[in-house]
C-alpha cells in the first residue's frame, strides 16, 4: 500500500433521524498511512458518521468516494468490506452464542470448506497474539462466556484480520472503553504500527490523551458538523476541549475537595470472598468511595455483592440503606431496550408514584421531564424509545434512574465508559452535590481522573483489596504500583 493514497472521502453528507439532525453536511477524507482522531461530545454525530462510512446507514444527501470511485448509490456493508473498510462498533457486534473462531468465520465469507474451523481459529489467534500478546483467549471459547474486555479484544482482532481482501481502513469507535491501561496501550501501539505500514485508522475516543498521542490528524465534531481539523501536533488538551465547545475546566478543581474525617458507623461494609487478610471496604454516609485497579479484578463482583446485600443477608457485605446500581454494560445490564426514555428513568421510583392501585402517569412524566432538563438528555421527547438516544445519553438516563430513586447508596460500575468530557464534568459535579447532601457513592472506575473525585480509594487485584488509600495519600503512581505488583511474600 502506498502512503498518502486517498482511501475514502465523504462530501457534504447529511443524515436525520426524525427531528434529530445527526449529520449536517460533513466533509471528511482519510488517506493511507494516517491515523485520524475523531472527537466530539455525545450526540455530536460521531457514531452516525462511522455507520455511514461502514455502510450500515445510508446518508440522506452527499457523496461517498472510495479510492476515487463515486459509490454513493451502491454503498453498503458488502461494498465497504470488499473495499477493505472495516469498523469496530461501540456496541459490540459478536454473536455471544458462537465461539471466537466461529465469529471470525461470520466476518470472512471465504472461510469455508473442510478445515475452516482450524483456519478461522488460527487467523483470529495470530491476530490476537500480534495485538494483545499474552491475551489467554482460545479460539474455542464461547464469546458469551468471556468478559467485556476480552470480547472487545476479539472484536478488534477480528477487524484487523485478513483473508481475501486487504484491510485498508479500520474505524475504531471507543475501542479502549472496556480495556484497562495495559491492553489499551497494546492496542494503541498496534495502531501506530499498522498506520506506519501504510494502513489507515479512524480512532474515536473520549480520552483526549489517547487521541493526541496516537492520531496524526484530529477532527472535531459538534452538532453534526466538522468544526475543526488539524494535525494532532497543533492541538493541546485544552484547545481540543475548547474546540469541542465545552469550557475547559481545570482538573484541579475537584482536588479542592478536602478529605472528610471518617467517624461514626459506616453505611456499607464489604469483604471480597477471597480476601485473606483483614482488609475490608468501608463507606460512610456522604462519601465517594472509589474502586480502582485494572479491569475485571473483582470490582464488579464487589458491587454485585453490595447490591445483593440490600435484599438479603450476605456474608460478604452489609448495607444500611437502600441501594441503586448504575450499570456499566448498559446493553445487557442497564436499559430496557423496548421501553421509552421516560419508563427507563422512572422504573426504580414507581413505588413513590402509585395512586390507589395504579402508577400515576403524570408523576412519571414530571419526573422524566425534570431529569431531562437537569442533566440535559438530548431528546425532543422523553416518550421516545431509549434506543433513539446516543450511547452517552442512554447512560445519562441510567444516572437519572439511580439519582432519582430514594436509594441512599449509589453503586456505579464504570458508568462513564464512552461518555464525553463535558457530560463527565456535569456528572462529577452532580455526584459531588449529591454526596454533600448525604448520599453515598461506591464507584468502580478504570480512569485515574475519576478517582480524583473520590474521598477514599480501594485498589483491587485478583479479586482482593490490595490497597486502601485515603484521599490525601492518593497518587497515580500508588494506584498503578499496587495494581501491578504481586503481594510481597
Amino acid at each position: 500500500m502506498s502512503m498518502g493514497e486517498r482511501i475514502v472521502s465523504l462530501d457534504g453528507v447529511d443524515k436525520s433521524f426524525g427531528a434529530v439532525h445527526a449529520l449536517a453536511g460533513v466533509d471528511l477524507a482519510c488517506d493511507s498511512g494516517e491515523c485520524l482522531g475523531l472527537v466530539g461530545h455525545n450526540g455530536a454525530g460521531k457514531s452516525t458518521l462511522m455507520h455511514v462510512l461502514a455502510g450500515t446507514l445510508r446518508p440522506d444527501r452527499g457523496r461517498i468516494l472510495v479510492s476515487g470511485d463515486d459509490l454513493t448509490r451502491s454503498y453498503d456493508v458488502a461494498v465497504a468490506q470488499s473495499r477493505g473498510i472495516r469498523c469496530v462498533f461501540q456496541e459490540l457486534s459478536l454473536c455471544p452464542n458462537l465461539t471466537v473462531a466461529e465469529n471470525a468465520r461470520v466476518f470472512h465469507a471465504s472461510l469455508r470448506g473442510l478445515g475452516w474451523r482450524r483456519r478461522a481459529g488460527k487467523l483470529i489467534l495470530d491476530k490476537l497474539d500480534e495485538i494483545f500478546p499474552g491475551h489467554s483467549i482460545a479460539p474455542g471459547d464461547v464469546v458469551g462466556d468471556l468478559g467485556i474486555a476480552r470480547r472487545q479484544m476479539v472484536e478488534i482482532a477480528r477487524a484487523f484480520s485478513v483473508t481475501d481482501t486487504p484491510v485498508k481502513l479500520v474505524i475504531l469507535d471507543e475501542p479502549t472503553s472496556s480495556l484497562d491501561a495495559v491492553l489499551a496501550g497494546q492496542l494503541l501501539d498496534f495502531v501506530k504500527r499498522f498506520v506506519a505500514a501504510g494502513g489507515a485508522v479512524i480512532l474515536i475516543s473520549h480520552l483526549l490523551g489517547e487521541i493526541l498521542d496516537t492520531a496524526s490528524r484530529v477532527i472535531v465534531m459538534r452538532d453534526g458538523k466538522v468544526v475543526a481539523g488539524r494535525p494532532a501536533a497543533e492541538f493541546t488538551r485544552d484547545s481540543l476541549v475548547a474546540a469541542m465547545g465545552s469550557v475547559a475546566k481545570g482538573a484541579d478543581e475537584s482536588s479542592a475537595r478536602t478529605a472528610k474525617g471518617r467517624e461514626g458507623a459506616p453505611v456499607a461494609r464489604a469483604r471480597p470472598a477471597g480476601q485473606r487478610n483483614g482488609a475490608e471496604l468501608v463507606a460512610h454516609r456522604g462519601e465517594v468511595v472509589g474502586l480502582a485497579g485494572l479491569g475485571g479484578q473483582g470490582q464488579t463482583e464487589m458491587l454485585r455483592a453490595l447490591f445483593a446485600a440490600a435484599r438479603r443477608r450476605s456474608r460478604e457485605a452489609s448495607v444500611r440503606e437502600p441501594v441503586a446500581l448504575v450499570a456499566g454494560d448498559r446493553q445487557t445490564d442497564g436499559i430496557f431496550p423496548l421501553w421509552s426514555i421516560e419508563k427507563n428513568i422512572t422504573i426504580a421510583s414507581l413505588r413513590r408514584m402509585v395512586r390507589g392501585l395504579l402508577v400515576d402517569p403524570r408523576q412519571e412524566a414530571v419526573m422524566a421531564e425534570t431529569w431531562r432538563e437537569k442533566i440535559n438528555i438530548r431528546t425532543p421527547d422523553v416518550g421516545n424509545n431509549i434506543l433513539s438516544l446516543s450511547g452517552g445519553n442512554q447512560q445519562k438516563a441510567l444516572f437519572a434512574r439511580a439519582l432519582g430513586s430514594v436509594a441512599g447508596i449509589v453503586l456505579m460500575d464504570d458508568p462513564m465508559r464512552g461518555v464525553d468530557i463535558g457530560t463527565k464534568q456535569e456528572v462529577y459535579g452532580m455526584i459531588r452535590a449529591e454526596a454533600e447532601a448525604g448520599r453515598t457513592f461506591i464507584w468502580y472506575t478504570t480512569e485515574m481522573d475519576e478517582l480524583k473525585n473520590c474521598d477514599h480509594v480501594y485498589v483491587f487485584r485478583n479479586g482482593r483489596i490490595v490497597a486502601d488509600l485515603a484521599r490525601d495519600e492518593l497518587t497515580e503512581e500508588k494506584v498503578l504500583h499496587t495494581s501491578f505488583t504481586e503481594e510481597a511474600a
Binding site: 456493508v77 459478536l94 454473536c95 452464542n97 475452516w116 474451523r117 462466556d145
Partner: protein, 323 residues
C-alpha cells in the same frame, strides 16, 4: 481436573445425558426386564418421530422463533403418506415437497413482515390440520410397505465373545444417526455458524454482509424437512393414519429442545441434546407406567420431570458467576 469436570459449562452440557441415564436406571430398578433389546424397542419406538420433530423445532428455535404448527404438520405428512404416497407416489412426493416449500414461505413471511412467529405458525397449524382432513377425512389409509419395513428393521446382531449376541435396537441407531446428522449440519459446517449466529446477534450477522432472509428460509425449510421425516417415521410405526395423530408433538418437541439444553432465544441450541431430550420425554411415559401412576396423571407427571431438570439447569447457571 475435578474442577474442570464440575465446571458449570461441562455440567450444563452433561445434564441432558445425565437425566436420560438417571431415568434409565430408575426404569431398570423398577423393571429390570425392560432393559433388553425387546424392551428398548418397545420403549423407544416412538422416540424416532419425536426426535425428528424435536430437531425440526430446534431449527426454528435457533433463529429465535417458535413453531406451534409442527404437530399439525406432522399429522398432515402422515395423512399424505397413508393415502397419496401409497396410491400415487409421484403426487405424494410432490405434496411433501410442497409442504417444505410452504414452510420456507412461512419463514420468509415472518422475516419480511417482521411478524411474531407464534401467531403465524399457530395459524398455519389450522391450515395443516385442514389440509390433512381434506386428504384423509376419516381415520384409515395404509403406510407404504417400505416405510413400515424400515421402521421394523432389525439390525444384525453383533457377536461378542464370551457374552453372547448384542442386538442394538433400531430406535437407538436411528437416534444416533439423527443426532450426528443434525450436529454436523448445524454445529460443524461453516454456514451452520451463520445460522446459529443469526439467532445470537442478528444485527452482527447482517452487518457482516449475510442475508437474514436466507438464514430464516433455510432454517424453516430444514424444519419442514425434518418434520416430514418425523411424519414418515410415524406412519411407518402406526401403519394407518389420522389427521390429529401428532397433535402432542408441538409441545413435546419444544420440551425436547429445552430439555436438551437449548434456550428459547439467542441461538443457543444443541442438536445432540435435543435428540436426548426427545428420548427422555419418550422414556418418561413407560417410567411413569412402571411407577403405576394412572394415565390421567401421566402428562402432569411428565411436566414435573421437565420442571425438575430445568430447575437443575437453573441451579447450574447460578453456580456460574461465582467461579
Amino acid at each position: 481436573m475435578i474442577a474442570t469436570v464440575l465446571s458449570p459449562k461441562v455440567l450444563r452440557a452433561a445434564l441432558p445425558a445425565l437425566s436420560l441415564l438417571i431415568l434409565l436406571v430408575a426404569v431398570w430398578y423398577l423393571n429390570p426386564r425392560a432393559i433388553s433389546p425387546l424392551g428398548f424397542n418397545l420403549m423407544f419406538n416412538l422416540a424416532v418421530p419425536i426426535a425428528l420433530a424435536t430437531v425440526a423445532q430446534m431449527c426454528v428455535i435457533t433463529v429465535n422463533d417458535l413453531d406451534l404448527g409442527i404437530g399439525a404438520y406432522v399429522g398432515f405428512v402422515v395423512c399424505v403418506a397413508a393415502t397419496w404416497l401409497y396410491d400415487t407416489p409421484l403426487l405424494g412426493i410432490a405434496a411433501l415437497i410442497g409442504g417444505i416449500v410452504l414452510y420456507m414461505a412461512v419463514g420468509a413471511l415472518i422475516h419480511v413482515r417482521n411478524l411474531p412467529s407464534i401467531v403465524v405458525t399457530l395459524g398455519m397449524s389450522f391450515v395443516w390440520l385442514g389440509l390433512a382432513i381434506l386428504v384423509l377425512p376419516t381415520p384409515g389409509g395404509k403406510a407404504p410397505e417400505w416405510l413400515a419395513a424400515l421402521m421394523k428393521y432389525k439390525p444384525p446382531a453383533i457377536p461378542i465373545p464370551g457374552w453372547g449376541d448384542l442386538q442394538i435396537p433400531f430406535p437407538i441407531i436411528a437416534a444416533v444417526v439423527i443426532a450426528i446428522v443434525a450436529h454436523v449440519l448445524l454445529m460443524r459446517t461453516s454456514y451452520g455458524s451463520i445460522l446459529r449466529g443469526s439467532g445470537g446477534n442478528p444485527k452482527a450477522i447482517e452487518r457482516a454482509g449475510w442475508s437474514l432472509l436466507k438464514t430464516k428460509v433455510v432454517m424453516f425449510g430444514a424444519a419442514g424437512f425434518f418434520g416430514m421425516l418425523a411424519g414418515l417415521a410415524l406412519i411407518g410405526l402406526t401403519t394407518s393414519a389420522q389427521a390429529n395423530v401428532a397433535e402432542r408433538y408441538t409441545l413435546l418437541s419444544i420440551a425436547g429442545v429445552i430439555l436438551g439444553g437449548g434456550y428459547f432465544v439467542g441461538g443457543r441450541v444443541s442438536p445432540v441434546g435435543a435428540v436426548i431430550g426427545a428420548m427422555t420425554l419418550t422414556l418418561s411415559l413407560p417410567f411413569l407406567t412402571f411407577l403405576k401412576i394412572p394415565p390421567d396423571w401421566q402428562i402432569g407427571a411428565q411436566g414435573a420431570i421437565l420442571i425438575v431438570v430445568l430447575a437443575l439447569r437453573a441451579i447450574i447457571d447460578r453456580l456460574g458467576p461465582q467461579q
